[in-house]
């Protein structure tokens, strides 16, 4: 029973991590959005799985809200933004794609090293997935600092949120529902604020390449 649970939890977290790595590989925004949407679905499934095996009914609610908010609503908003800015690709990120992928792999290894004390301490069957969640957090931070397009950075932030949610659910079987609701509200507000920022950047520079923010505009 515990063995199956552990295995399924690791498979779920691996899927979430792999979908996060897609951000480093693909260049088009719609691929990023699709990956984020699929990742949120995988995360919701993992949370529901933990809920099923621990008999914690609240986790189902969390999974359902996550599915609606991050799996459907935010991707719809992201697609709308993408349409307005036209099909701009991530042409020249600060770190090229092949190197980013290798760095992404190394970051996951680093996450294994960093979380080793945590994993040995934990008794939960889900502990094997914790390094993967930490790896996703590192990878999404890397996406935020290495990509030039504001939209990609916003998606990176949302994936970071997913990583933190995954770590919470694997490490402690989820935080109380009321806190979770607060986090969702924060994420939504953060996203809306960032959306306004992105629109402003686009208005001023007619591009969402944040590299242009470095220079003064006449």
């Amino acid at each position: 029973m515990d063995g199956t649970f552990a295995k399924l939890a690791v498979i779920g977290s691996s899927a979430v991590l792999i979908l996060g790595l897609v951000l480093l590989w693909r260049r088009r925004s719609n691929a990023h959005i699709a990956a984020f949407s699929a990742q949120s679905v995988a995360l919701a499934a993992t949370i529901a799985l933990v809920g099923h095996f621990t008999g914690d009914g609240q986790l189902y609610t969390v999974a359902a809200i996550l599915l609606l908010l991050k799996g459907v609503a935010i991707p719809v908003l992201l697609r709308r933004m993408e349409r307005q800015f036209g099909a701009q690709r991530e042409l020249e990120p600060y770190v090229n794609t092949a190197t980013s992928l290798l760095l992404g792999g190394l970051l996951v290894l680093l996450a294994y090293v960093v979380t080793r004390p945590l994993v040995t301490l934990s008794q939960l069957p889900t502990r094997a997935g914790m390094p993967l969640a930490m790896g996703l957090i590192f990878v999404s931070l890397f996406v935020i600092i290495s990509r030039k397009k504001a939209l990609t950075q916003v998606i990176g932030f949302l994936v970071l949120e997913n990583g933190i949610a995954l770590l919470a659910v694997l490490g402690t079987y989820g935080i109380p529902l009321i806190l979770e609701l607060g986090v969702f509200l924060d994420a939504l507000m953060g996203f809306l604020v960032m959306q306004i920022f992105v629109y402003q950047i686009h208005e001023t520079f007619e591009s969402i390449d944040v590299d242009q923010l470095k220079g003064l505009r006449k």
Binding site: G3, K7, V10, I11, S14, L17, I18, L21, W25, T97, A98, L101, L102, G104, G105, V108, L109, Y112, A128, P131, L132
Partner: protein, 324 residues
């Protein structure tokens, strides 16, 4: 594990089984390539040549005259034999019909990776030898792909070797058979993904190389064999088909080993042959479907695809390391 005649009990019996396995691989290889071509044609609403067409092509090529460029050295004549022999040698080592495979003591995963590289190396040399511009271009591209793909093959299979505790291919398959739950573990799934991408790259399929064109700007494999004709070309094409089949056998039997015979009885072996053919058909259909759905990558984006597969293999290794 089971009662009945233990495999490779006698060296003679083991060798006979090894020979039978290699013979079967050689016989099936052109059929698999033909099947992929036929399926692709059907998917593109074309009639397509029948699946046995590659056999006819090979017969035709073997009876044709060989034309060799006056600039070519002995290397050009020797390379087809080296390529064919090194690929055929792998056919003895990959578990195809039975585990523990009959010639397990002869070579393991590391030998297989080096034999693959040996064939690639000689093919590249043969491409350079006659001094044609296309050959050099193809050879340089092939080496770029191989340098990125070969470590990934080793890494992906090492991920399995780590969880099985042996680099022996037969042992790895036997271990997965004994512990079916491991086949669904993330290590296995990731390693399968990595090996699938590398198999496409190594055997010159889309999205790395287009096997059905001679478009000068894109070809890799075809550019290297452009100067070959007659039986030399037949040997190289046969070896290429065999390489594809061997990758399919690795994918099918290391990750989903059920159906392999664990003892030598006619019934078990017949079942093993049937299951192997079924696996080959499924993988061929998957490749045909995949190739119809995607376009070829620009050459400079190929390293990105291969680093994806490298990262997958790296993650597979990490997770199977943790799993122990």
């Amino acid at each position: 594990m089971t009662t009945g005649t233990p495999l490779s009990g006698t060296l003679l019996g083991g060798s006979l089984l090894g020979l039978a396995q290699a013979g079967l691989a050689l016989a099936l290889a052109p059929g698999v390539v033909g099947l992929i071509r036929w399926l692709k044609a059907r998917l593109q609403n074309r009639l397509g040549a029948p699946w046995w067409q590659p056999y006819l092509d090979l017969r035709k090529l073997f009876s044709k005259e060989v034309i060799v460029s006056p600039n070519a050295s002995w290397l050009f004549r020797a390379a087809p034999f080296v390529i064919f022999a090194s690929t055929a040698a792998i056919a003895f080592l990959v578990p195809m019909l039975a585990v523990p495979s009959p010639l397990d003591t002869v070579g393991d995963l590391i030998v297989v990776v080096y034999l693959l590289l040996l064939g690639t190396f000689f093919l590249a040399l043969a491409g350079l030898d006659p001094g044609s511009a296309f050959g050099g271009m193809g050879a340089s591209r092939e080496m770029t792909v191989a340098a990125l793909a070969e470590p990934t093959i080793a890494l992906a299979v090492f991920a399995l070797a780590l969880s099985a505790g042996s680099t022996n291919l037969g042992q790895i398959a036997a271990r997965t058979m004994a512990d079916p739950a491991a086949a669904l573990g993330p290590g296995h799934v990731l390693a399968f993904g990595a090996l699938f991408i590398v198999a496409l790259a190594e055997t010159g399929r889309l999205p790395v190389d287009n096997p059905s064109t001679h478009l000068e700007l894109t070809m890799i494999h075809e550019a290297m064999v452009l100067e070959y004709s007659g039986r030399y070309l037949a040997l190289i094409e046969w070896a290429a088909a065999l390489k594809l089949l061997l990758f399919f056998a690795l994918l099918g039997n290391l990750f989903v080993p059920w159906g392999l015979a664990t003892r030598v009885t006619p019934a078990a072996l017949a079942l093993a042959v049937a299951v192997l053919s079924a696996k080959l058909v499924v993988l061929a259909a998957a490749v045909a479907l995949f190739e119809t759905r995607i376009a070829k990558l620009r050459l400079f984006r190929v390293p990105e695809l291969l680093s994806v597969s490298f990262v997958l293999a790296l993650l597979a290794i990490t997770s199977s390391f943790l799993w122990r």
